[in-house]
């Protein structure tokens, strides 16, 4: 044991004197520090752009109204009314519609024009910013729609108006009334009635979503972003419910029967989502930015880490053989398996060190750049209740699982190094495997899922989506759940299969490496 410790100390000294190691550590550190700053800047630039497009105040509305009016320039003589009262006052509207035999575009412009006039006169911009909440935004769109509808109906000549027309006409005016109430009185009930009447998924959200939304936010006070997020969560919840009800899993536009494991997973997701909705713990703008920043940073730094580890592991034995420095190890009174063990342990230590470094740095710099509240806790279900895992603990576990693929890459590079005793081959082949890892995704998409694809190492290397099935619920991007080098096809490969596979694979790699170094002669 003391011999292994001595060898291990020596190996650590040797690795710490490698220039390539320090260059890659510098790159890892740099990307950990730089990427969050870049992400933040890009986000801010994007934010100022999207803010402009979303806000709609009185001045802007006036400008739009005026430009609309200009387009009516020479038709002004026909325009009898600037406003329309949306009670059933058939004569007035009929009059205007008959006088103006406008084409479709002009009807739409005219309808918009009178809508804006009405809004400018009657809307309380201070109380509810227009477009400021989902309710206001939607009511505004529907109000415009119904007004246009009404105008179009009025372009139908009297001779062609039958009973169906009158039924439709009454219906439209009633809908317009509801839109009116929703817009000007901010009446959520009116909005729900209107959505129910339209009886189709005309808007973004269905009736049940609106009902859920109204239950949480009866006055429609949530900002448009917040309520959109909420609505998306509600949609997701409905989707989960539907999946459970139907017993299928929708995946890539196809339907797969739910396995019992997947059913349990969806049930958990549903519980968490419920918890998030009722406790106001849904991802928000800050946490979304925080999570995305951390993911991007971690991924960039991790790329350098994997390259570094492939170089270290791939050169560990072969470089010593090439330079001949292995001699002083062979001559020493230590058994060869001890050299082997110490080398492997020292490589893992560096991998662990690098991994801790990037995990720590990417978390820290995200917290500095985006804010400490930007990193959400992870939610999981235990014993039928939703539990909260603090972000730091979650990060630690995430990092352990994330390192499984790193471990396999290290073993592969080390094995090839022991077997071929050639640094170029071992580093080259391992780097090739790293870059070619996406092959299983490609194969999956080319031939559909086939059993043998499950037996590729790459298909089993990502366990993140198995260990953390609810990452998406706190805003982790799907693509990252696939890990840098794996595929998140959690339907196809059961967790226990992947774990067994990886253990067997590691043992085989170790055995080949052991045979290559310990049992063969050193030339």
């Amino acid at each position: 044991m003391s011999k292994i410790l001595a060898l291990y100390t020596n190996e650590m000294i040797k690795l710490s004197r490698k220039l390539s190691v320090w260059i890659l550590i510098a790159l890892m550190t740099t990307s950990c520090i730089l990427v969050p700053f870049l992400t933040k800047r890009m986000y801010q630039a994007n934010l100022s752009y999207s803010d402009e497009s979303e806000s709609l105040d009185k001045t802007q509305l006036t400008k739009i109204r005026d430009s609309l009016r200009e387009s009516f320039g020479d038709q002004n003589q026909y325009v009898q009314h600037d406003t329309i009262r949306f009670t059933i006052q058939n004569e007035i509207i009929e009059l205007f519609a008959t006088y103006l035999s406008l084409d479709e575009d002009d009807v739409y412009s005219y309808a918009s024009y009178i809508c804006m006039n009405t809004i400018l006169d009657n809307y309380n911009f201070d109380k509810y910013p227009l477009n400021g909440s989902l309710l206001a935004d939607h009511a505004y769109t529907l109000y415009m729609d119904e007004t246009s509808n009404l105008c179009f109906m009025n372009t139908i000549p009297f001779s062609e108006r039958d009973n169906a027309w009158y039924d439709e006409y009454i219906d439209t005016t009633e809908r317009l009334d509801l839109a009116n109430a929703a817009l000007f009185s901010h009446d959520m009930d009116a909005m729900i009635k209107l959505v129910a009447r339209k009886n189709e998924n005309n808007g973004t959200f269905s009736l049940s979503i609106w009902k859920d939304l109204a239950a949480i936010d009866p006055e429609g006070r949530l900002s448009i972003k917040e309520s959109r997020r909420l609505a998306e969560a509600l949609i997701q919840r409905e989707k989960y419910r539907k999946n459970l009800e139907m017993g299928v899993d929708s995946y890539n536009y196809s339907y797969i029967p739910l396995t019992s494991a997947r059913r349990a997973q969806i049930e958990d997701s549903l519980l968490i989502l419920d918890y998030q909705i009722t406790h106001d713990k849904l991802p928000n703008e800050t946490t979304e930015l925080g999570v995305a920043t951390k993911q991007v940073t971690h991924r960039a730094a991790r790329f350098f880490l994997v390259i570094m580890m492939i170089i270290i592991a791939g050169s560990s034995i072969s470089q010593e053989l090439a330079t001949g420095s292995i001699k002083s190890l062979i001559i020493a009174p230590v058994k060869r398996w001890k050299i082997f063990t110490a080398k492997l342990l020292s490589i893992f230590t560096w991998g662990l060190f690098g991994s801790i470094l990037i995990t720590f740095l990417s978390t820290l710099s995200t917290m500095i750049c985006i804010g400490s509240s930007s990193l959400p806790p992870y939610y999981y279900v235990s014993g039928g209740a939703v539990k909260v895992m603090p972000h730091l603990l979650f990060t630690l576990l995430y990092f352990l699982v994330d390192n499984i693929s790193l471990f396999i890459y290290i073993l592969t590079a080390f094995m090839i190094s022991c077997l071929t005793r050639n640094t170029g081959i071992s580093v080259g082949v391992s780097a090739g495997l790293l870059l070619g890892a996406s092959i299983s995704t490609t194969l999956n998409s080319m031939f559909g899922h086939q059993l043998w694809i499950d037996f590729l190492p790459f298909s089993n290397m990502d366990l993140l989506s198995n260990v953390f099935p609810h990452l998406g619920l706190i805003g982790y991007l799907d693509s990252d759940m696939a890990g840098l080098f794996g595929v998140a096809d959690y339907h196809a490969i059961p967790f226990s299969f992947s774990v067994t596979y990886l253990i067997v694979l590691s043992l085989i790699l170790l055995l080949i490496a052991y045979d290559g170094f310990v049992r063969r002669d050193i030339q």
Binding site: T9, R17, I331
Partner: protein, 313 residues
């Protein structure tokens, strides 16, 4: 000096090693005793390095036993290897690290090597002043010295040096020779040196083993080899007329004439008959300007043992 009562420090018993179809070492057995410098002599490719690499743990022997300091290498690897030190081919260190750090790292793998001992061996090989430079700045000779320092660091009972004089300057060779002799004769270390240079062996070794084609052909002391050489020594006789001298000897004396030059004549006779030979020449009227003994017969003896005609440089 060889002392049959002492237990051998290194025993090699019927060791065989094949590479593919080629038998590199064939049933080699010999013992190495404390206090002697053993020379391993053979042409290039004879199997010297293969034997050394087997002793040092690079190769596993296909057959046979290696016992170091009483421990069987196979069953008590670490105990056996802890009493051995040496250099195989060129000494290779971790080039980016300093000599001192290299030694410290090596010392960590042995028991009881102190910091003072590291300073001591650095002093011994004369590298104290440059010990903190990275090894890549060293010349070949300096690398040999640091290799020797490493080999001696843990006071091994058996010291094995493969071509130790490679790259050393004459002063270095002299130093090495002194160190080895002192180690063997004073500290009772068993020293084994391999070389293809006979002259070097002559100056350094007490016993030599001659190897060719993987077979150990002969083990003898330097004296025995010298004696074999002496039994038919060459003499160079300087005379104004070598041809005349040749004719006189051909008529009156039983000897072999190996070479004739403008003013010299080389003959091969037994040492005891040289007086008789000169008298015969003088009697025949030849003028003797000088008689010189030629040492080259040692090499001839070597060639004779190894089968001759091989590159011995």
């Amino acid at each position: 000096m060889t002392n049959p009562e002492t237990k051998p420090a290194l025993q090699i018993q019927k060791v065989t090693k094949t590479f593919g179809k080629k038998t590199a070492v064939d049933q080699v057995s010999f013992d190495l005793f404390p206090g002697e410098v053993f020379g391993f002599l053979g042409p290039n490719g004879a199997g010297k390095t293969t034997i050394i690499k087997m002793v040092m743990g690079f190769f596993r022997p296909d057959e046979g036993t290696i016992i170091i300091n009483g421990y069987n290498r196979k069953t008590h690897y670490e105990a056996a290897m802890s009493s051995i030190g040496g250099i195989v081919e060129n000494p290779e260190m971790y080039n980016t690290l300093s000599a001192r750090l290299n030694l410290q790292m090596y010392a960590r793998l042995h028991q009881g090597v102190t910091k003072e001992r590291i300073d001591e061996v650095l002093e011994l090989v004369g590298l104290t002043e440059r010990a903190d430079e990275p090894v890549k700045k060293y010349s070949l000779g300096m690398k040999q010295r640091i290799g020797l320092a490493q080999a001696l660091l843990h006071r091994p009972r058996v010291l094995i040096l493969d071509e130790p004089t490679n790259g050393l300057d004459p002063a270095g060779i002299h130093l090495l020779r002194d160190i080895l002799k002192k180690l063997a004769h004073e500290d009772r270390v068993a020293v084994m040196v391999s070389s293809h240079l006979l002259s070097e062996m002559q100056l350094m070794c007490d016993r030599i083993g001659i190897i060719n084609h993987g077979k150990l052909l002969r083990i003898c002391t330097i004296d025995e080899l010298m004696h074999q050489a002496k039994s038919s020594s060459s003499y160079r006789i300087k005379t104004s007329d070598p041809k005349k001298a040749r004719d006189i000897l051909a008529e009156n004396f039983d000897s072999r004439i190996s070479n004739i030059n403008d003013d010299t004549l080389d003959i091969e006779i037994d040492e005891s008959r040289i007086n008789e030979c000169v008298r015969c020449l003088v009697a025949g009227g030849s003028d003797i300007l000088g008689v010189q003994k030629l040492e080259s017969s040692l090499e001839e003896a070597f060639l004779e043992i190894t089968g001759g005609g091989i590159d011995i440089e």
